[in-house]
Amino acid sequence: MNWDSIEKIAENVSSGKVTAETLVNKSLAMIDDTKEYNAILSVSKTRALERAREIDAKVKNGEKIGKLAGVPFIAKDNFLTFDTPTTASSHMLENFHAPFQATAIVRLEAAGAIMVAKSNLDSFAHGSSTENSAFGPTLNPSDKSKVPGGSSGGSAAAIALKIAPFALGTDTGGSIRLPASFCGVVGFKPTYGLVSRYGVVAMASSTDVIGPITSTVEDAALVLDVMSGKDQFDGTTIDRDTKTYDGKPTNLNGVKIGVVKEFFSSGIDDEVKKVILDNVERMKAHGAEIIEVSIPSISLSLACYYVLVPAEVSSNLSRYDGQRYGLSDATAKNLDESFEKSRAAGFEAENKRRIMIGTYVLSSGYYDAYYKKAQTVRTKLINEFNKVFEEVNYLVGPTAPMTAFEIGKHVDNQLQMYLADIMTVSANLVGIPSISIPVEKANGMPVGLQLMAPQKADRDLLALAAAIEGQKE
């Protein structure tokens, strides 16, 4: 069962041709039919149907709704929302009910979109496979024995399963693009600061971004258009483009696209490499100027990321202390024991691992050697990207060096798991927009093609991605 484009759905609801209630019911039926994949953690049935009926009544009254009139969507379960719990797939927040909604949710609702459910993720978004969820892994819609990627694995699987026209994800080091790649859908990571993070469970504040997961680039652009722009509740937000993010395809003629050499060196799956290079050839045939470029520090980006992100994680997760909200151990005899026991019971193994690595690299005596050094390597990486962007307009490569792997394959080897992010973390460290779009399959599984652009060129990047999406034969 397919969905129309988001533009078409909103048009049909606004004109009264289709009711929002029908759409919400269709989405709810899809949730029931796909339970075995464990993509969805909770359903907002009552509120979604109420909002749908409100919208339908307004349409009958001749009122104007908005760009996303009646469009059902799924939010990753680290967005604060009314009606459902917000668990971040952790026991820590298993029973947490948000007293307010995230800015992204508020803006989407104001445009007429309707949240129907919350999706599974790696606990606190720590992971690349959704296996770190406290509520069991999500299964890949293309092959149930494989992971959907992570951490927004539930959202990507939900779109591949056609549960809703769009889903929200968060991307700290690839958490939107990797699952989009593994599940064969579109995942967009905007420029750092383009979408407010107010009301989203913080992971690593210097790289966290929010973005859409959809079936098409145009749908992703429309969702971004509604969510983006400054927010008084998030001081890191930046101005949005004055023009609409519409995701209309650009002409590839004369566009300079850099093929990042480092993405094709050792370690990449042969079939994935072939699919990506075939696509690059096709871009060339459509008039794009293909230039090989080198960004040597990309080989350091993962090490850099695994210093900076755990450091920020250890700081951001200190708020979960079992005193004001979240899991609280009832047996503790004193305050310190209450902290330690609550956190021990509320966090998954990967959460604890990252908190301790973060604490280690921030420790007195190690701070300069690890944290400050990584921040300086980050500068080096940024400089190299800036230099390459003087020569080309965009960069291209695979989203991941492999296709979706078997469930359980890397659970005992964190470094192998971390390597799934090797091609996505750079965009987060540099703060640039990046998108994963599905191309041909490899090893019978979906492959994502990754495109990147300079900071704030989100609109142009979406236009380029739409053009490449359209050239598939």
Binding site: G235, A303, Q323, L335, E340, R343, R353
Partner: protein, 107 residues
């Protein structure tokens, strides 16, 4: 799937004592089994990130903010967040007189 190569510069061994200290600083109660596992895992992760130690960053400053924003201020006035104290206290494990109740801090 091919395994990606990574360089082990030097293996600085993390001791059992280090893990217990980190757990204490992180306010995490760990079992002996966990201490053992994390000791091995953190040793290999730290060995991996140590590849940064040989990178030449002469003349470069550290980056902590990527879009160039500095000192984002606002007018010092009350903002209505639309949330009441009662709503904020709903998730509290223990409360009294409209306040969070915690265990005694000073003996």
């Amino acid at each position: 799937m091919t395994q990606l190569p990574f360089i082990l510069i030097k293996m600085s061994k993390i001791s059992e004592q280090d893990i217990r200290k980190l757990a204490s600083l992180s306010k995490l109660k760990l079992s002996d089994v966990e201490v053992n596992i994390y000791q091995k895992e953190l040793t290999s992760i730290v060995a991996y990130i140590e590849q940064l130690s040989n990178v030449d960053v002469n003349g470069l400053d550290p980056t902590s903010q990527v879009t160039g924003l500095r000192n984002v201020t606002r007018v010092d006035e009350l903002i209505d967040y639309g949330v009441s104290p009662a709503e904020l206290l709903k998730n509290a494990p223990s409360k009294k007189d409209n306040q969070f109740k915690v265990k005694r801090m000073i003996a």
